[in-house]
Amino acid sequence: MDSQAITSEVVAAHNLTREEYARIKELLGREPTFVELGVFSVMWSEHCSYKSSRVHLKRLPTTGERVVVPPGENAGIVDVGDGWCAAFKVESHNHPSFIEPFQGAATGVGGILRDIFTMGARPVAAMNSLRFGTLDHAQNGRRNRALLAGVVAGIAHYGNAFGVPTVGGEVVFDDAYSLNPLVNAFALGLVRHDQIFFGKAAGIGNPVLYVGAKTGRDGIHGATMASAEFDDEALEKRPTVQVGDPFLEKLLLEACLEAMRAGAVAGIQDMGAAGLTSSSCEMAARAATGVELDLSLVPQREEGMTAYEIMLSESQERMLIVAHRGRERQVIDIFRKWDLDAVVIGRVTDTGSVVVVHEGERVAEISSKYLTDEAPLYERPMKSKADGGRRTGEGAAVESGTTSDAGASAAPASVRAAVGDPTINAEPGASVGGGVDIVSPAPPTAPALKEAARDYNEALVRLVTAPSVASKEWVYQQYDHMVRTNTAVLPGADAAVVRIKETRRALAMCLDGNGRYCAVSPREGAALVVAEAARNVVCVGARPIAITNCLNFASPERPEVMWAFSEVIDGMAEACRALGTPVVSGNVSFYNETEGRGIHPTPVIGMLGLVEDVRRVVTQGFKREGHLIALVGETSEDLGASEYAATVEGRGLQEMIAAGACVPRLDLGRERKVQEATLRAAEEGLLESAHDCSDGGLAVALAECCFSSLGRGGVGAEVKLDGGELTPTVQLFSETPSRVVVSFDESQRTRFERIVAGAGAPFRVIGRVGGDRLRISVNGDELIAQPVAELEAAWRAALGRKLRAEDVAAAAE
């Protein structure tokens, strides 16, 4: 197989274009060997090279006083005080999870955990952002339920056994994701400032060690798979799905950290997508060195593996370590102690090339910069869905410079001119699909409520039982969210809080996305998502400090998609600058489309916040009868693309757009003021509760504040709204951003008012905690009166009820 002839079919099967292949020959000055072709194909895949996104990602802000490691490494790192740093990142595992939900999701968790501990950080928290089609969809409902059950079981399987608490995340249902679920896994680890490790093949002559699981034929070409669209054939690609072993990964973690502490490690990198190929090439490129590997020495699980297979295998739970010279014995002994393989398979060289030898034969020799710096870079054509608008120059050269890549783990230090791209020559109007085809219509799931007979109580019940809004306890109770005994705010909150045992501080974290908003308006939608994520960590009493992002999009070869991508970057960049939260890591996932139907543009934001004193953490539940309830922020008419429009009015996205729906207007200045006011009140210890107003608006937020939580029963509230010109529907269900529901003791009212006014945030006291009902009146009319216990029971049970026994049984291994 290593000597297979390279025909145009073979090139195409590697997802390389004719032009890319020509470029490979030009760089090498010869035909590549078959192994080299495989290496180029994975390193130049969208997944590893970020060839369509790099030109845009550099517009994101990536610097800040807390940033210790910006994008480009395995994970971003920020300073969190007292000599501690947090390493964190979010990454997609969408394609593997669609093909095999259990193992796909499990290995997604495994991969992101390795990204964290390869930096020297011990993982202390995980989260997941999941998107599926609706669960009772006539055609796809059953598959969607099976995907949900399988993905959740897979995450639980891996995270629970590994021993990292899965503390939060989001689960969203929308038919745009029916044939393309999104599974984005986040992990965060803690590391001392002076003990951070990098993926660098540093030190000429240093030994290169292969550690961890043995290599098998699993997952060969996963990286190229993740860079191609899906069709029915993809389901036949099952063999490329890797199987994860969380037990082995736990041993790998302990062994790696022990080897690092021993001072034996010069550089280390996970063998993730593209396995040995990407780890060796990237480590050499980052250090501007070369590596020479003898594949015959690689521990193998199967017999007769070719060099091509060994280089491209995506077997899980493996790492490449560059040890300090003379310390290899020590590394091997530490891994032995943990019953793991550790074998010297090569050396760091000064040639700048990756040289691969197999059974005495040199099967590949490629300058590492050809695989990283010289990887293709595309400035793909873009077309606004509104005006058919702006297009970028065709194949325009891009200036060299430092990329501010939002998490290209394969990110090169510089970019170069784009090589030819056939799609660039397409006619502007003749692109695949029409102007709005990045948007997939969501069929109405509920009959529209009659305008005249509008029943606000029923609307509220519908909203709190809508699967995207309902309690996610069916999901998170399957995750061990308490192991390591640091979880101070459990799942189900605006943000999770994980304390740092050694200090008084704690870290708040959340994952947020909103595909519907981004489909309507990608730029504003992305800014709204960043603002909401920041608000979420503020609501638990944390100052937002940095983000990681996972950018899930359809095919970049479609100008509408690329335009949306570019808009999302700009919206995100603006919000991140305004809120002081640089992007330190992330991942781009393109080609999320099946049978020509793409997902909504779905940037998912992982926000990190810092709590100065863990005793000051705030939770969302109302605490005691008599406490005053206030709304920080102001409501305006933002119903167009809301959960209310989707769930209660039963509008599909196309319908919303046709009706001229806009996303809520975000005023970043006001957002900052609202966040500052909430945060100061929290830090002063004034707040009894704080909760972000988001999906479903104020009425849903108030209901969630009433629901019971650990150690506290449900409690009612009486709220009086007076919004002047605004209709009751707007006041109750509008999704105006920059709003937080808080409660406090009446004795603190003056102090509270002084703080909020000082921050310049609008606010108004709207009611009082008490009784066993949630009662909301608008302009004097009581429109909502719901027994909290009943409402809560419906909210808790809604999601579990959608899942039937057979879905669950199928997922339980």
Partner: protein, 231 residues
């Protein structure tokens, strides 16, 4: 008094147990590697939660063959105190130090949440500072916590007052709904005939600080420390 926390490959609540003993009980504690066999200096051994050896055959099944478990048996036979939490309970059952077995939860899922357990007896070295009938809020986190045993064993457990904790509702009632994993007779924890070996599925070490939602687990460690201090 000195505590030891056993570390199997795959243990993941070892640090939590260590933290509780060193910071909350305030006593010396060591990690004991699964290949070590000398338990001579210890007064109490904790077998922590986790997925020892990946729990690949059955939960706790492979751990019982590790060298340290032979020593734990001897340690228990000499009257040493052994506390098995979650996977530790499973290992104690697999090793024969406690009767019965723990099988897949009735609902099939892994389940992580706070549950209520009722203290059934205070006549043990682990519970004498608690009150009989007291309801504790403790977290569970397991997929195989469904306690089973034959009728004879159950009669023996009851007859010898060896059922230590039962799942219950918040008022202490034994309702089917409160039986989180479907265990026989709501059993959440049992002890050995000599009462020096305790196994339970809930995690008392996760419930020793109000910051984490409950400190109801601290009474168990307080009891054990008092027992050791009095020896």
């Amino acid at each position: 008094m000195k505590f030891g926390v056993i570390v199997f490959p795959g243990s993941n609540c070892d640090h939590d147990a260590y933290h509780i003993i060193s910071k909350h009980v305030g006593q010396p504690v060591d990690f004991i590697w699964h290949r070590d066999t000398d338990l001579g200096t210890y007064d109490a051994i904790i077998i922590p939660g986790g997925f020892s050896y990946g729990d690949y055959l059955r939960a706790g099944a492979l751990a019982r063959f590790s060298p340290v478990m032979a020593s734990v048996k001897g340690f228990a036979a000499r009257g040493g105190f052994v506390l098995g939490i979650c996977n530790g309970f499973q290992i104690l059952c697999e090793s024969g130090l406690l009767p019965g077995a723990l099988i897949r939860n009735r609902g099939l899922h892994f389940i992580c949440r706070h549950v209520n357990v009722r203290v059934e007896t205070t006549e043990t070295p682990f519970t004498h500072e608690l009150k009989a009938g007291e309801v504790l809020s403790l977290p569970v986190a397991h997929a195989e916590g469904n306690y089973v045993c034959d009728d004879e064993t159950y009669a023996e457990l009851v007859g010898e007052d060896r059922v230590i904790f039962r799942y219950c509702d918040e008022r202490g009632g034994l309702t089917e709904e409160a039986n989180v994993n479907g265990s026989r007779a709501f059993i959440a924890g049992i002890c050995s005939r000599e009462r020096n070996v305790l196994g339970l599925m809930p995690h008392p070490e996760r419930a020793c600080e109000d910051l984490l939602g409950s400190s109801d687990g601290s009474g168990l460690f307080r009891s054990l420390a008092a027992t050791l201090a009095a020896r």
